[in-house]
């Protein structure tokens, strides 16, 4: 191994330790509201999330992941005022913590979740997602996360990659009428099939994917600032692991190697991003003053101003979502060696 690589590996090791220390330091920022972690069995698949005012999505979110085989949800509620906390506390498979601290200063919730992962995640398959992200993967209609993780275990693979696919409605967001009882993906049925660009992140070695509808509509003038779409949401956790920035990158860096450099052997998934419901407009408005979501929030002011008006994201080449087969055929995810 060249000296430079060794030096970088050494630096990354210290960086990871600093993150662990930071997580430990912030451990008292979250207070348990409802602790049901005693119900976690050694093979339970855990789901970690930070939420804020997500009543429009949560019932669908929980239902989606229960069906996929998540056994226990560990959720941090960041000061919701729409009944999210009460709803979650009433669910039998949810353990709930709450905090009033800054989401941005807690590395967008990663410090809080890091502490929960450190305590409860060790040796479990841990899924870390936002309330507006619905994971799908090859054969998702007939196989579940238990099957998927057993397949990965059999191959000694400890992390599973996915890209965020932004789902949007046809017509202006402002005009959308969404019935909370209906399937989210029937309202947000459209996506951009392939305007993604990839490169390898020079430091963390993850595949850095940008593009999609936000790139097309909001970030054309500053493409280098467009949101990152690649994520590593599902990991066989070890207490030494940390997420660096959201779930885009991890340390140790080998966990970021979720893509295949030569062949097409790694099974990968897609996170359907259900952000563009009408509630994005008040949220964007709030974000303009609250400034909790991005580094360099100033850069995103125009983005939020534009979003607050409920724009139309649809274009004639938008594709209608019809299930995982379509996503594998388009190449957005791959069956890899899991036929």
């Amino acid at each position: 191994m060249p000296l430079g690589d060794l030096w970088m590996a050494y630096r990354m090791r210290w960086k990871r330790r600093r993150f662990l220390f930071r997580i430990w330091r912030k451990r008292r920022q979250i207070a348990p509201l409802q602790d049901r972690t005693a119900a976690i069995r050694p093979d339970t698949i855990l789901c970690f999330a930070t939420v804020r005012n997500e009543m429009a999505r949560l019932p669908h979110f929980l239902q989606h992941y229960r069906k996929l085989g998540v056994g226990h949800f560990l959720i941090v509620d960041n000061h919701s005022d729409d009944g999210t906390a009460a709803y979650l506390a009433a669910q039998s498979d949810v353990s709930l913590w709450s905090t009033q601290h800054s989401y941005r200063l807690a590395r967008f919730g990663m410090d809080w979740l890091g502490w929960l992962q450190w305590q409860y995640g060790h040796r479990h398959w841990c899924l870390t997602v936002d309330a507006d992200e619905l994971l799908t993967f090859p054969h998702a209609d007939s196989r579940d996360l238990g099957d998927l993780t057993r397949h990965l275990d059999a191959r000694g693979i400890t992390s599973f990659g996915a890209i965020m696919l932004e789902m949007y409605p046809k017509g202006p967001i402002a005009d959308v009428l969404h019935d909370p009882a209906a399937d989210l993906l029937e309202t947000l049925a459209w996506f951009d099939a392939d305007n993604y660009r990839e490169k390898t992140h020079p430091i963390y070695q993850n595949l850095w994917i940008q593009g999609g509808v936000r790139d097309r509509v909001f970030f054309a003038a500053r493409p280098e600032r467009a949101p990152t779409l690649s994520k590593v949401p599902l990991v066989r956790w070890h207490w030494r692991h940390v997420y660096v920035s959201s779930t885009h990158q991890m340390l140790p860096r080998r966990l970021n190697h979720v893509f295949d450099r030569v062949q097409d052997r790694r099974v990968t998934g897609v996170l359907l991003h259900t952000k563009f419901l009408p509630d994005i407009m008040p949220k964007s408005q709030e974000e303009l003053t609250r400034r909790q979501h991005f580094e360099n929030s100033d850069l995103y002011t125009t983005y939020h101003q534009h979003l607050a008006q409920g724009p139309d994201l649809w274009c004639p080449q938008s594709r209608h979502y019809d299930g995982w087969e379509q996503l594998t055929a388009l190449g957005l995810m791959s069956k890899g060696d899991w036929d």
Binding site: A220, S334, D337
Partner: protein, 561 residues
């Protein structure tokens, strides 16, 4: 039946075989804890014809599995003197058809041994780079647990050129480890006077369960049917393929008797199979054609990937790729200066997708003139230039069902030029100096356009240098403007043939070209201004350029009689 995990499914299968009247001897791996074992024995205690054999440690690739099946076979043959065929199964083997049909099938073939058994020369069963060396080296170390020792020991034997001698009369054969043998053959193997010698030899062969019975059966059997009655698939790394609920249709169509390895939680498969008996119907032969084909396709996709697709699951090092893009495409430089509605004309002639200037400085000119294109590609020039390579690979991938071509020129943004040069899928046609035609038609005088002409010529020359460099891999066709104007029909015919991949319809007349009256004089004026448009080729001054003049007849030779 060999069992080491998923005991509830194993019990279900034992009951299944036993209910159909088959006595079962079960071998439970010694690594299984005593408590689990006792519970399992107790669970099937009500079945009179089920017994348990002495336990061995059955590690993959090691001798334990053979020892286990030997002991179990002997016990089975001794306890039940009237059985004729012995079927080796595992807890993850699921009968697809009623056991009665299997019994009938075997009754019709009382002397046949079903065991896949092929010589090593005929199969590619290479795992870890070893095929015939499986038989000539010693493998005392476990491949799974003691990998480093295993590798070092193999390397040591290879360097010292150590070879084992095969026992006399033995020809190594390989095959699936799931067999169905007749009592006669199995007894002969177990009671062979040379068995001690054979066992000593096979104990240190690698993966003996794929060769022990497969080899010895050749010494004793009367009639070998060299195929396994158990449908088992392996991926290219030698890992068994696992069947899930969504494989139900595939398995049903295969008409195989037994399949493995079945996912213990595949409730749908366990509920559906074995299928109920069908009355009054010819019993189908097992056939694995469809399933083999589907798996071969999947393996091909995995090993070769999908060319031109750049996504999270496949992100090859671009420069090592032989061709970056999914499909052949054409790049036309200079033609649209001479033929103004070239794109429409090409589409009408060949049905290809003809884009405008994809890399124009102001925006992307997609075919059809839209602001977005397939896959949601944006016409924003900044987005395009941010990663121009990816833009082009995405464009080609998105419309890969059709041939695409686009216009290029020295006034376009040039960073893409190296990709156009190196991509083996690109077919680049250049008419050099054609930019002068546009300048000529702008109506401006030679002195006004002089610096612009010099710039365009310089940019085009750099592109030509790239195309002529040793790194160039694309198909390149370069001609001067003068050469093109001599026989436009031949060139256009060549382009069309290239695009459609075979001989396209013969062109009778060229498309409408711009009027070049006075063009030669324009070039001369440029020269007089001190700017030499050498890329345009030789035009005699005063030569009236007639683009629609009749083609000169081709010279021909009359053969001597």
């Amino acid at each position: 039946m060999l069992v080491h995990t998923a005991f509830d499914r194993a019990e279900q299968m034992i009951r299944h075989w036993s209910d159909a009247g088959c006595p079962v001897v079960v071998h439970v791996d010694r690594n299984v804890g005593q408590a689990t074992y006792d519970a399992f024995v107790a669970a099937v205690a009500d079945l009179a014809t089920v017994s348990f054999s002495p336990r061995f440690r059955g590690e993959w690739g090691m001798w334990g599995l053979i020892a286990a099946s030997q002991a179990a076979s002997r016990q089975l043959l001794a306890q039940f003197p009237d059985i004729r065929h012995v079927y080796l199964a595992s807890g993850a083997c699921l009968p697809l058809r009623p056991v009665a049909e299997l019994q009938a099938y075997l009754d019709a073939r009382p002397d046949t041994d079903f065991i896949e058994s092929v010589t090593t020369g005929d199969v590619q069963w290479t795992i870890g780079g070893l095929d015939s060396e499986r038989f000539t080296l010693r493998f005392p170390f476990s491949w799974k647990r003691q990998r480093r020792l295993f590798d070092v020991f193999v390397l040591l034997q290879q360097t010292l050129r150590l070879r084992r001698r095969l026992p006399k009369g033995i020809v190594p054969h390989l095959g699936s480890q799931w067999w169905c043998l007749t009592r006669r053959t199995l007894t002969a193997i177990l009671d062979d006077p040379r068995r001690v010698e054979f066992d000593r030899y096979f104990r240190q062969v690698w993966i003996p369960d794929e060769c022990y019975y497969q080899t010895l059966v050749r010494l004793h059997a009367r009639h070998i049917e060299s195929r396994s009655l158990t449908l088992a698939k392996f991926d290219f790394q030698g890992k068994p393929h696992i069947f899930y609920d969504d494989h139900a249709e595939l398995l049903a169509r295969s008409a195989c008797f037994v399949a493995r390895k079945v996912w213990p939680r595949a409730d749908g498969l366990y509920a559906r199979f074995p299928r109920p008996p069908v009355e009054d119907q010819a019993q189908p032969e097992p056939h694995t054609g469809t399933i083999d084909r589907i798996f071969a396709q999947a393996v091909d996709r995995r090993t070769n990937g999908r060319r031109g697709l750049y996504m999270q699951s496949r992100f090859p090092f671009m420069d090592r790729e032989n061709g970056f893009t999914a499909m052949p495409y054409s790049v036309l430089q200079g033609f649209d200066d001479i033929i103004p509605d070239l794109a429409d004309w090409l589409t009408a002639q060949t049905r290809v997708i003809a884009h405008g200037h994809l890399f124009a400085p102001d925006r992307v000119y997609f075919a059809g003139g839209g602001t977005t294109y397939q896959g949601g590609l944006s016409d924003n020039a900044r987005l395009r230039d941010y990663n121009a390579k990816m833009f082009l690979t995405n464009l080609i991938w998105n419309a890969r069902d059709q041939h695409q071509c686009f216009q290029f020129g020295p006034s376009d943004n040039q960073p893409i030029k190296w990709m156009l040069t190196k991509d083996t899928q690109a077919s680049v046609w250049v008419v050099t100096g054609a930019w002068a035609v546009s300048l000529f038609r702008s109506g401006r005088s030679a002195s006004d356009v002089r610096s612009e002409a010099a710039r365009l010529q310089q940019v085009e020359n750099r592109f030509l240098n790239a195309l002529r460099s040793p790194e160039a891999r694309s198909r390149r066709h370069i001609m001067t403007l003068a050469e093109f104007l001599e026989s436009p029909i031949d060139v256009l015919q060549g382009i069309m043939d290239d695009m459609v991949g075979h001989r396209a319809a013969t062109l009778k007349k060229p498309p409408a070209m711009v009027d070049l009256d006075g063009f030669a004089q324009f070039l001369q004026d440029l020269k007089n201004q001190g700017m030499h448009p050498y890329l345009a080729g030789e035009f005699a001054a005063g030569d009236a350029m007639q683009t629609s003049r009749p083609r000169p007849r081709k010279p021909y030779v009359i053969a001597k009689k």
